[in-house]
């Protein structure tokens, strides 16, 4: 068995699940910021109701990815931690503010002033985190973080790798994608027609924004991430994959337009899955371009084998628990409870 490849596949799968769960939680924070109209306060309440029981569990996928990275691809972890110190620190500040403010808002006074202050912090954290995550991914894809394989010394000036158009375009793309996913999910969280319509409209606008940012990223990748651009445009799998992703995106919009919300949720989740997979495939076999690949950055095989065993054993406990959690709070039986 190809251990490094298997671990990389697990990381990619964890990233997909993080996007589908944690990403949508951040998207919820975006809609808290843009809550408007006569239903604004009910929108905020619905968002809080939707993410309350699950955001901490969704968040753990990110920690799992980090642990897998430093155990199984330690050179990549060290290179990313060194070169992307600044955007990662900003992302962490977003993580802290989002989680803390969300909880503080729940348990602080109910008066509008207090609630609004925490809402603002929660929303800012929810915007900063996905943008900075996207920036870091963009920097990793840019091919500018050089690593000496023998010594692990990282060639970086700590700034130019991420402070560039392509990483920030990718950050905005991540923000739009997560906001879109959250709005689609939220249409299924309520049975009240006016709230549903509000989030349907938001989902459609966010779908447009996501599409625009996807094209901007693709255009900027030509200079900003040449390897990835070549991967997305030039390989034999890439054109069918792109077409499929685009078709799925259009199908999700159509389902939203027709108010087939359950279907839209399913297709949108599929679309986000394809986007993350597309990122993973276009990057293959690199972890940090141009020097670190899945093979040359991998930990010794006995470590990877043990990790795969631990992952399998952990999954036996974890997956039924997750299923139980989501069945309890996200089943279609009780929409609209708030």
């Amino acid at each position: 068995m190809d251990y490094p490849f298997a671990i990389a596949a697990v990381i990619l799968a964890a990233l997909v699940l993080y996007a589908l769960g944690g990403g949508a939680d951040f998207g919820g924070g975006v809609w808290d910021l843009f809550a408007s109209g006569s239903t604004a306060e009910r929108q905020r309440a619905l968002i809080a109701h939707a993410i309350g029981p699950i955001w901490e569990a969704n968040h753990v996928w990110l920690i799992l990815v980090i642990v897998l990275l430093f155990v199984c691809f330690p050179l990549a972890f060290a290179a990313i931690g060194t070169a992307l110190h600044i955007p990662l620190t900003l992302m962490l500040i977003g993580v802290i503010l989002r989680g803390a403010a969300f909880t503080f808002r729940t348990y602080d006074r109910r008066d509008p002033g207090t609630q609004r202050r925490w809402s603002r912090v929660f929303a800012i954290g929810s915007v900063v985190t996905p943008v900075m995550l996207g920036v870091c991914v963009g920097a990793v894809l840019s091919g500018r973080i050089g690593v000496d394989l023998a010594t692990g010394v990282v060639a970086t000036d700590y700034i130019s790798e991420w402070l560039a158009p392509f990483p920030f375009a990718l950050g905005l793309f991540a923000l739009a994608l997560f906001a879109y996913l959250a709005a689609v999910y939220l249409t299924m969280e309520t049975a009240e027609p006016d709230l549903r319509r509000a989030f349907r409209a938001r989902a459609l606008w966010a779908a447009v924004a996501t599409g625009v940012m996807a094209w901007v990223c693709f255009f900027l990748a030509r200079d900003g991430a040449p390897h990835m651009h070549a991967g997305l445009a030039g390989r034999n799998w890439s054109l069918p994959f792109q077409v499929t992703t685009g078709a799925v995106a259009l199908a999700a919009i159509a389902a939203l337009w027709k108010e087939r919300y359950a279907l839209a949720r399913l297709i949108a989740a599929g679309q986000v899955t394809l986007v993350i997979l597309g990122w993973g495939f276009s990057q293959y076999p690199w972890l940090v371009e141009p020097d670190l690949t899945i093979r040359n950055a991998a930990a010794p095989p006995q470590v990877l084998r043990l990790m795969l065993i631990a992952l399998a054993a952990g999954a036996v406990l974890l997956l039924p628990s997750l299923w139980f959690l989501f069945r309890l709070f996200k089943s279609a039986r009780q929409p609209g409870r708030s």
Binding site: V67, G81, V95, I96, P300, V303, A310, L328, F329
Partner: protein, 447 residues
Amino acid sequence: MSDLLAARLDMAISLGFHILFACAGIAMPLFMVVSEHRWLRTRDPVDLELTKRWLKGTAILFAVGAVSGTVLSFELGLLWPRFMQWAGPVIGMPFSLEGFAFFLEAIFIGIYLYGWDRVPPRVHWWSGVVVAASGCLSGIFVVTANAWMNTPVGFRMVNGQVTDVDPIAAMLNPHALQQTIHMTIAAYLAIAFMAMGIHALAILRGSTQRIHRNALSILLPIAAVTAVLQPLSGDFSAKQVARWQPAKLAAMEGHWETERHAPLIIGGLPDEQAETTRWAIRIPSLLSFMAHGRPDAEVKGLKDFPRDERPPVAITHLSFQIMVGCGLAMLATGLLGTLLLRWRRPLADTRWYLRLLVLVAPLGLLAVEAGWIVTEVGRQPWIVYGVMRTADAVTPMPGLIFPLAAIAAIYLFLGVVVVVLLKRQVFAPSEVETAPASPPTPPPGER
């Protein structure tokens, strides 16, 4: 400030902040399931209200613990990439197991918090048990990884390259057992005393409500038992440190001369220039006996270590004294409470004992912080004892004072908010007891 010092302070603040919330995340779920179990037996609404009130506090503490723990897992790479690039695979096993334990904890705390009206009471209680067990396990796994930094095994270093990595051997390193026992007991001990002090304060402020009495009756047995166990576990830990990290032991003791019949040095102030510890009480032969089991055993002194391999002595020694002092104060308080109960004096009516509980309340958490300073500062100048120096592990990134300032400011802010919110939760009058005519059933979705 040098970048190395900024990185060390950043790590120290991040750990020192997180550990308070981690302790609460380990101990509070145990208290809650005990109280909920009482409610399931008695159906006394006060027991249910106590459970829910603890739960509200725990929800706040758990969320801050989760985000500050995330910060730590990133900081390993942000601050110490040259350490992680070789050590990551070696200590990966406990970290990944911790990931799973934390995952379970996060899933079931969601169910426990929000599932009151969605699952049967038994299932709800068992969710709490899973939270308590997985919280305890994730603490154990993380401490195991730290123990490896003190007693690194499970690999060979050949010409600066790591070979023969054995993650299981690394996980089962010599310090793993003593450190996990000591830290786990510390979590329950510190949080039990903290919670007792808060409830005692509420009674002293005039609350006659049963909710606080019930809380004391749940917490005192846990506090007393852990207070008795902790010195025993500490003795075991000290013997292990004496065996594996003699420089740390000497620094803990402020012990400079290698000698037989080494005295136990209590208090005093180590002077690192003059290589002596002044104004201390010395009990002859006791250190030899405590460290090695024989009064005539030889204990290596700091002078026998090169200056560049000695940890900062004053910080380590003082922190150790503070930890032991806090532990003994809690031991005495716990035993006294047990005696009062045997004499059938209700604790809640013994005002001087309540005042004592308030006074002792912060000592457990103080001891936790002091104990971590002993472990971490006492290991210096090494990040991996005898293998890699902390100075060689730090990131080449300049300007580390900026992330340090940012983290310090954010954590100060969060700390203040948490205290304010908890205070409001704790001192709110009991809803059940204030309106005894019609005990309100919680509205759906309320937690």
